[in-house]
């Protein structure tokens, strides 16, 4: 509970949403899981979105593609399954070493009720057992941006082996795609704490998934994984709620929740985390000078908004105005809400024109928003931070705390330096 003794009020809003759909998650997931391929079954719009969101062709041949539905497919459903077979054959001829193929549903495939469960089962029989075929929906009608990762991981959960005997399953399962460098840093910290049986999900390989069992504590590294959490709980895992590992305090609180559960004594915890915590504080100090006392406003984007707002207010002294977020999952986010000011306006959902009117009225020092809004708001005289960079950049853990703070401070420092141009 915060000092005001109450959690912030959450206002729900409906209207035009200026957010990505769940397909966008493929942009980072296809790099994280290296033996998997993501085949979107969708339209030219889906292909165009992925290409635009991926910053146009970062990788010469990505591990994702779109099976573009055309008129002939719309004529009859039997055709669609046949043409999907052909596309998958073509794909596997180019990429014989895949271990997992995700069929990813889209808005058009959902609307025409294309049964991707059945398609995945059929393709699995056709190409198995070397290739596992899974499916999930990343459609905009069902998923908002990072919910795509949530659905993809949920699809992987049934493939996780059951623990067969006590002590075989990991004690802690860290859930949510993290940059490889962040994962390695956490592994070293866990080793220092004497916590040995820790697994990360997803890892680089889809054919070596961690086991799950009743002894497993589920620790989310990302806040947008409510469906994955539920699926893991259904497999017997137990959720360990914690603030998210952003900044020195967030990382400490996250590690402390795990360490307490593992029975690590306070002295050892202090000894292992002190250096990282001090480095994080030092690395954030320059940005704190820039950010302290400044106002920040969040448009909804990735569900990282509440943890980030907590980081900016608690660790960098920023004043929160409005925090928009696509969804609020209380069971996951309460440890963050408890640390936020009780008078904070949290808006779940979106009505973009109404929200734009509010941001213009508030005139915050910094606005965190999507790429479609950033330059127009800059042109109106507001300083902005692209929200997508917070998803595509390693920001978790002690060693990234300075980088995370810098992401918010840079637009303000830049404005100050370029005063002559204004």
């Amino acid at each position: 509970m915060n000092s005001h003794g109450a959690a912030p009020l959450i206002v729900r809003e409906r209207g035009q949403r200026e957010v990505f759909c769940g397909l966008t998650g493929i942009v980072w997931l296809h790099r994280k899981i290296q033996d998997a391929f993501f085949l979107v079954v969708g339209s030219r719009t889906c292909a165009h979105l992925l290409q635009s969101a991926a910053g146009v062709m970062i990788f010469a041949e990505p591990r994702f593609a779109t099976a573009i539905i055309d008129e002939r497919d719309l004529a009859g459903l039997a055709d669609v399954h046949e043409s999907l077979n052909e596309v998958v054959d073509q794909l596997l001829a180019r990429r014989p070493n895949l271990r997992t193929l995700f069929l990813v549903g889209s808005c058009p495939s959902e609307v025409i009720k294309l049964d991707l469960d059945r398609a995945a089962e059929r393709l699995g029989q056709r190409h198995g057992p070397g290739l596992r075929v899974l499916n999930y929906s990343g459609s905009g009608i069902e998923t908002t941006f990072t919910e795509g990762e949530d659905r993809a991981l949920t699809a992987l959960v049934p493939a996780m082996p059951n623990r067969s005997a006590a002590g075989e399953a990991p004690d802690f399962l860290i859930v949510g795609a993290l940059a490889d460098v962040v994962e390695d840093q956490f592994r070293r910290l866990f080793a220092g704490l004497g916590i040995e049986r820790v697994a990360f999900f997803p890892g680089n390989r889809s054919d070596a998934l961690p086991t799950i069992g009743p002894d497993t504590r589920i620790v989310l590294a990302q806040p947008f994984l409510s469906a994955t959490l539920k699926a893991l709980e259904d497999r017997g895992g137990r959720h360990l709620p914690a603030p998210f590992p952003l900044g020195a305090e967030g990382t400490t609180a996250w590690l402390r929740a795990i360490a307490s559960e593992a029975g690590v004594d306070a002295a050892r915890f202090e000894a292992v985390t002190a250096a990282g915590r001090a480095r994080a504080q030092k690395a954030m100090s320059r940005s704190r000078e820039t950010l302290a006392g400044r106002q920040v406003f969040f448009f909804p984007d990735s569900q990282l908004e509440l943890p980030l707002a907590r980081f900016l207010s608690e660790e960098l002294g920023m004043t929160l105005t409005e925090v928009g977020t696509p969804y609020v999952h209380r069971a996951i986010i309460d440890p963050e809400l408890d640390r936020l000011p009780a008078d904070l306006r949290v808006v779940e959902g979106q009505d973009v024109d109404a929200q734009l009117a509010r941001v213009r009225a508030v005139q915050p020092d910094l606005t965190v928003c999507g790429l479609g809004l950033a330059n127009p708001l800059e042109a109106e005289g507001l300083r902005t931070k692209w929200a997508i960079e917070l998803v595509f950049t390693p920001i978790q853990g002690y060693e990234q705390a300075g980088d995370l703070a810098e992401l918010f401070a840079r637009p303000l420092r830049r404005k100050a330096r370029l005063e002559a141009l204004a």
Binding site: T45, D70, D73, G372
Partner: protein, 531 residues
């Protein structure tokens, strides 16, 4: 269903957005699911547009599908009209909304708004972005300009002094359209021809309504503006200037055509050649090294066609491949390719283009941002000549492609990726100098040096041009082997032609029944294939 890794064009509603974003006082209401708003970033990020594109989306979700998406759309229209106060409205559906068949046009009409509504039917499962842009412009022109009778237009035309024209085609997210327009306008105005309107870039509904009052139309990008211009010709009898002023000769022809249409002397526009440096630069002795450089050309129809002519007639290159993703321009492209002794590659399959480029082994690629990536992987120089666009295609400086300044810009940007004349000779002579590697990029492109070290994409295998893989044409049963000295000699040949030299030599050896390739064979083959 078609397997697509990268696409040259977006869906047709993105084409409509490009038209909407070009216009003033117009709003586009799109029936579309959550997530389709991603398209805003094309404008705000690639083009650095300082305002949101004038588009409102219904952003329906699964829960709305069960209730009433039609009402949601109507509410979106009503709110957009109230908030943005447009003078005309475009309405339509994206791919998903097309499937739920809510009839956006009918729903918008039912609101009894006081402004013109242009319903757009853009079949997303058949058509693509450029078609969507062209169709949107056509529908808009038909609907708005159609409000003026041919007689009224003729009267207005007669009342104004001097000849006038419309410039049709320049639009948002077009490849250098912004600067082409300025260049073309300066040519036209030098002739004393008044520009009645430019559409869609910068036009408002009023300007579109009065398009019929000009004497003739200039069609800058046929893929985007030809249907609208043809309709204007039918309704108002306005002739079309169809020569696209890309390159020196085409610019001269364009000026002659405009002058003829306007009934004026072309001399004042031709006098602007005082700013034209390109012909002398190309004729200067320094440019001899450009002769017969092998170029592969791929882009939209307009730019690919023009590039082929410029490459051949104005740069002295040898065109070894010509293609386009614009099916609507297939016929002239096929003819142009045939004249060059080639078969045009008409496809929107990126993988097919990549394979064709590898097979042609060019020294330079003139392509889109997609070919730039192919070029990077193959270690070949590349200049971008066409959309799809990238933030780099919106330079801060004035950089048209059309007109005389465009010809200057094209000369500079096409030779920039090449190894310069003397440097090329030195590389050939001293290729074994360890600090002066054959495999290095041109010295003025320092950031791209050591092409051989470019990491290859995971799991596809390091198939870059500098790598010496035996060509697949040589089967195991009739194989030829390379003597070590011949193999070493081959490595002295500059990397960008090495692969071709290897293939030719192996073919020569096979044709002559030679089991082993010696240094002699290598040079025999070189003489054999020399023209």
């Amino acid at each position: 269903m078609k397997l697509t890794l990268w696409s040259y064009e977006g869906p047709p509603h993105v084409g409509a957005m490009r038209v909407a974003a070009s216009l003033k006082d117009i709003h586009y209401v799109l029936h579309a699911p959550q997530g389709d708003t991603y398209a805003d970033l094309l404008f705000t990020m690639i083009e650095r547009r300082a305002s949101r594109p004038p588009v409102s989306y219904s952003t329906f979700q699964a829960r709305d599908l069960g209730s009433d998406t039609a009402t949601l759309f109507k509410d979106t229209v009503a709110r957009a009209v109230e908030t943005f106060q447009p003078k005309a409205l475009l309405v339509g559906a994206s791919c998903t909304a097309e499937l739920i068949q809510d009839d956006p046009g009918g729903l918008a009409q039912a609101l009894n708004l006081s402004i013109p509504i242009v319903p757009l039917e853009l079949p997303a499962y058949q058509k693509k972005e450029d078609w969507g842009a062209s169709e949107t412009l056509y529908q808009l022109v038909r609907q708005l300009a159609g409000r003026v009778t041919p007689e009224a237009a003729a009267e207005a035309r007669a009342a104004l002094p001097g000849p006038s024209c419309n410039i049709l085609g320049p639009m948002s997210l077009g490849f250098r359209h912004r600067d082409d327009l300025e260049e073309v306008r300066s040519l036209v105005e030098a002739l004393g021809v008044r520009v009645n309107a430019v559409a869609p870039l910068g036009a408002d509904p009023e300007a579109i309504t009065h398009l019929g009052e000009a004497h003739f139309n200039i069609v800058l990008y046929p893929e985007l503006a030809r249907p609208a211009a043809e309709w204007l010709k039918r309704r108002f009898g306005q002739p079309m200037v169809e020569t696209v002023p890309l390159g020196v000769s085409a610019t001269r022809e364009f000026i002659a055509e405009v002058a003829a249409c306007a009934g004026v002397d072309p001399a004042p526009a031709l006098a602007l050649e005082r700013r034209l440096r390109m012909p002398w630069y190309s004729l200067s002795v320094d440019s001899n090294y450009l002769t017969d450089k092998r170029v592969f050309i791929f882009g939209d129809g307009t730019h690919a066609l023009a590039a082929a002519r410029i490459a051949q007639e104005e740069m002295g290159f040898e065109v070894v491949g010509l293609g386009s993703y614009s099916r609507v321009m297939a016929r002239p492209l096929r003819a142009a390719a045939e004249a060059l002794g080639l078969e045009a590659l008409i496809t929107d399959d990126y993988l097919e283009v990549e394979a064709a480029i590898e097979a042609a082994a060019p020294e330079l690629i003139l392509g889109t941002q997609m070919e730039r990536h192919i070029a990077k992987r193959l270690g070949i120089g590349c200049a971008v000549i066409s959309a799809p666009v990238h933030v780099q295609d919106f330079p801060a400086r004035y950089a048209p492609q059309m007109g005389y300044e465009g010809a200057n810009v094209i000369f500079d940007s096409w030779i920039h990726p090449l190894t310069m004349g003397l440097e090329e000779h030195l590389l050939g002579m001293f290729s074994e100098d360890f600090e002066f590697s054959n495999d290095a990029a041109p010295s003025h492109l320092g950031h791209a040096s050591h092409l051989a070290a470019v990491p290859s994409p995971a799991s596809r295998g390091p198939k870059i041009a500098v790598e010496e893989a035996p060509s697949p044409a040589v089967g195991a049963e009739n194989s030829v082997s390379w003597a070590p000295q011949a193999e070493a000699e081959l490595k002295k040949i500059p990397f960008f032609v090495r692969k071709k030299a290897r293939r030719n030599t192996e073919q020569f050896a096979l044709d002559h029944g030679l089991g082993e390739i010696t240094v002699e064979t290598l040079y025999d083959a070189k003489a054999h294939f020399a023209r």
